[in-house]
Symmetry: C2
Subunit: 190 residues, 2 copies
DNA sequence: TCAAAAACTTGAACTACTTCAAGAAATTCA
DNA sequence: TGAATTTCTTGAAGTAGTTCAAGTTTTTGA
């Protein structure tokens, strides 16, 4: 079902029924099994993904061979590799399902011509991207100013359900500390 | 002069002469003296700034009273606090001139109505924001996977002129290590 | 339902960085 | 020009985190 996407869009702009039809015909919903990749390092990313259900993450494999989560996307978030998408260069990232998920995929070529046809949709993406960018600016602030323990508590206070929902080692790497250290923070052993 | 902005815009989209006039009438260029603030913590940010000449930075004052640079913007970059701008909440950041600079300021109310009038301009901002977001994703990757020394060399290799141009302690905090440690890296004493 | 896999915990040893304090060098501007 | 300010450097001591290795608990799926 595409409804969650249309609901999300209509929070920011309103679409003509004809535009809704046009957009609808371009969307492809797909189920992604837990741990399945929708993008791998080295591939060119030609798709934007909207999470209808479940949870996706962007991660890399670092020089020690360990996975490092850089970004999560839950229901109603967009996720893609914007650099690869816009510059048509190989991606540095993996995009993977953390849970069994459903995503709406929009192909770049299709989307770009759709955006020219529907200026209001262009507006939607501009606003959503700028808001996400704002959230990213705050994230950098937190990473720069808080200790590991403060970052954990802050995240836990703000997204308690989410912390329950995904493996702790992913949260640890998203907050930029080791899984072992997170375990100690939780046990009050720091 | 507004030319640098129009040149930048026309790299991504093309504007009708009438649109150029319309936009032109909304722009306000202003000189910002080195160290002068164009936004302070606690204020609501209602403006987007385009750097025509010079260099601006976004920084915070951390719990120890030290300045921490989170972002730079040189010629042809936009800078603002997107969270404060979109959610109309007090900013967590300062925006300050690193050098004597010239910026084009566009007021939010003016810009938002302009964007509705000129869909192509909406497109420009969508593309520019997404590209900047892509750069930010890479930045997070570098912060997460490289050591302080690697981050310094990587930055220095990619932006050698820029490293000459701004005080080293600002670069150090932008790369998330202390000015003293940067000094030691440069001296080969690590 | 139960064996295998994935996720979490613990302590001990280590290290990449920070902090502090003081001096030297470079830049600014009256 | 030269005094004041800003920026950079250096070494010594400290610490917030990592790494490793091994064991325990929880979850998964045939």
């Amino acid at each position: 079902m595409h409804k969650p996407l249309f609901d999300h869009i209509q929070k920011f702009i309103s679409l003509e029924p004809s535009d809704i039809d046009k957009l609808e015909s371009c969307l492809e919903i797909s189920k992604v099994k837990k741990k399945e990749h929708i993008l791998e390092e080295g591939q060119i990313c030609n798709t934007m993904y909207f999470v209808v259900k479940g949870c996706m993450r962007q991660f890399i494999i670092n020089s020690k061979g360990a996975e490092q989560t850089l970004q999560f996307a839950i229901e109603n978030w967009w996720i893609t590799d914007y650099l690869s998408y816009h510059n048509h260069v190989p991606s540095s990232f993996y995009l993977q399902a953390v849970e069994n998920s459903e995503v709406i995929a929009i192909d770049k070529t299709v989307l770009e011509s759709l955006l020219i046809e529907i200026p209001n949709l262009e507006r939607y993406f501009r606003i959503v991207t700028q808001k996400t960018f704002g959230a990213m600016q705050m994230r950098i602030k937190f990473l720069f100013t808080m200790s590991a323990e403060e970052r954990y508590h802050h995240f836990n206070d703000n997204f308690p359900e989410f912390v329950q929902r995904v493996p702790q080692y992913m949260i640890a790497s998203y907050l930029d500390f080791s899984a072992e250290f997170m375990s100690k923070i939780r046990a009050g052993k720091v």
